[in-house]
Each structure stands twice: as C-alpha cells, then as structure tokens.
Symmetry: C2
Subunit: 128 residues, 2 copies
DNA sequence: CAGGATCCGCGCCGATACTG
DNA sequence: CAGTATCGGCGCGGATCCTG
C-alpha cells in the first residue's frame, strides 16, 4: 500500500506538475475530446482509442480523469443507476486549459511535416 | 550499445513525439529562455537551473538541445575556438513553437493557485 | 567549456484479474 | 458499465567519469 496516490515523482514545483497533467499522453486527448462536449467513460475510451490509433487502458483513462478532476479541470457526474452511468465534462477552468492545449497540439499537428523534413536533413548531415 | 539514440519509446505517432519534446521538463525551459535571445550552453544551464530551482544536468540539457535541434526548432552554432563556444538560438519554426509553449506555460503558471484550491477541495471531499 | 559514455534506481504504464 | 488492485518490464533521467 502506498501512502500517496499521486504525490511528487520528480516534479517538485506545482506548475510543472500541472503542465505534466495537461500535456500527458492521454490528458491532451481527454481535454480535446471533452472540449466538444461531455462524454461517458466508455465513449471517451472508444473515441480516444480511435483517434490515437492506440487503445487507452481503463487504468490510464481512469487515472488521467482522476488527476484532471482533482486539478479542477474536469467534472465527474455519477448517476446511481444500474448499470452505472458516469459523465465527464470540462469545468470553466478546464475549458480554458483545454483551449491552450488544443492550440499547442493543433500547431504541432500542422507542422509535423516540417519537423520530419528537418529531421531528415539533420540525419543526413550529422553522421557524415 | 543502443541501435537508436532517441527512437520511439512508447510514442508511436510523430505528433505525440514532437509534443513530448516541446513540453518536456527541460524543453519548456529551454524554449522559454531562447525566446529572449541566443544563449551559450553554460548560460542556458545556469539560467535554467536558476528559474526552475532545480539544476539541470549537462546530460539532460545536451539531450534536450539535440532533440530540439533535430526537430528543427533550435539552431546550433559552434565556433572552433579554445575553449569551445557554442551558441544556441531558435529557428523561425522554433520561435513559433516556443510562443505556443509559452502561452500554455504562462496560462498554467497564472492558474496554479486555482488548481491548488481545487485539489484541497477535492481531497477534503473525497476521503469522506 | 561543451559534451560523450556508462551505470542504475525509480516510477510510468500496460496486462491481467476481480468487483459493485 | 465503470471502475479497483496488483504485478512486472523498461525507459527516463540523475550521478559520475572521461575527452577534445
């Protein structure tokens, strides 16, 4: 049993930790998806796995959502029915954050070709 | 001996890899520093260690700079003198990237207090 | 001064099994 | 359906030593 669930690995300052949560592998995708509206756990999982071409494990999705919820970016709404329904959405703070993240992710996506070209040029020049 | 220097750990798609480079612990600080002008290796090291309150090892700074250089974000200019002088600066592409990263990092920094407050509220409500 | 090489511990994250 | 618990590999990154 661990004392702390998600304490401080190597990230000491809180700013770095928050940035890490926002730009984490699944964090980016979760925020992006939720920017288009609230989603249920399963929907989120399927949608993300579809976009990223790689399946997100339940564990990681849960962990990501918990972290973002704790930071105040994501709201969790469980409805006590059988079977369980849990909806997630962005808080006002989370929506601001998601837009920033989207801006960076969007820019990155657009410029991937340039980066790839730069790498080829670098690799062609460096070993020789 | 490793075959690949910095190949693909778990990041398959290139977009994720680039995002990882840009938002990596030291990547953010390097881009931020270089946004204010070119710097030498040692200056960069001292400046970053000062801002982050945690020293960056030579290894990690080198690795970060190499990765960003290969991606076409950072320019490296070595002058063949004794002792060696190496200047780093942002390429036009890197400057665009750095501004996106700064926007996100700046937003994060400003809202850290709100996040901390959200965490306290979460922690107070969750165990009970 | 700038960095290459190597060792190695710690924590991330995927896989698997189980529950309300 | 939406999680929780546990185990284990492996890669990130810090420490240290060495070089042009």
């Amino acid at each position: 049993m661990k004392v702390s669930t998600q304490a401080a690995p190597r990230v000491s300052c809180p700013e770095r930790a928050v940035l890490e949560h926002l730009t984490s592998r699944w964090g980016v995708l979760v925020l992006s998806a939720l920017l288009e509206g609230g989603r249920r756990f399963g929907e989120l999982r399927r949608e993300i796995s579809e976009v990223s071409e790689i399946a997100v494990s339940e564990k990681m999705l849960t962990q990501t959502l918990r972290t973002l919820e704790r930071d105040g970016f994501v709201g969790r709404h469980a409805r006590p029915v059988i079977p369980p329904h849990v909806d997630y959405d962005l808080t006002p703070l989370g929506e601001q954050a998601a837009r920033q993240v989207r801006a960076l992710a969007g820019w990155t996506e657009e410029h991937v070709p340039q980066v790839l070209a730069a790498r080829e040029e670098y690799d062609a020049r460096t070993p020789g």
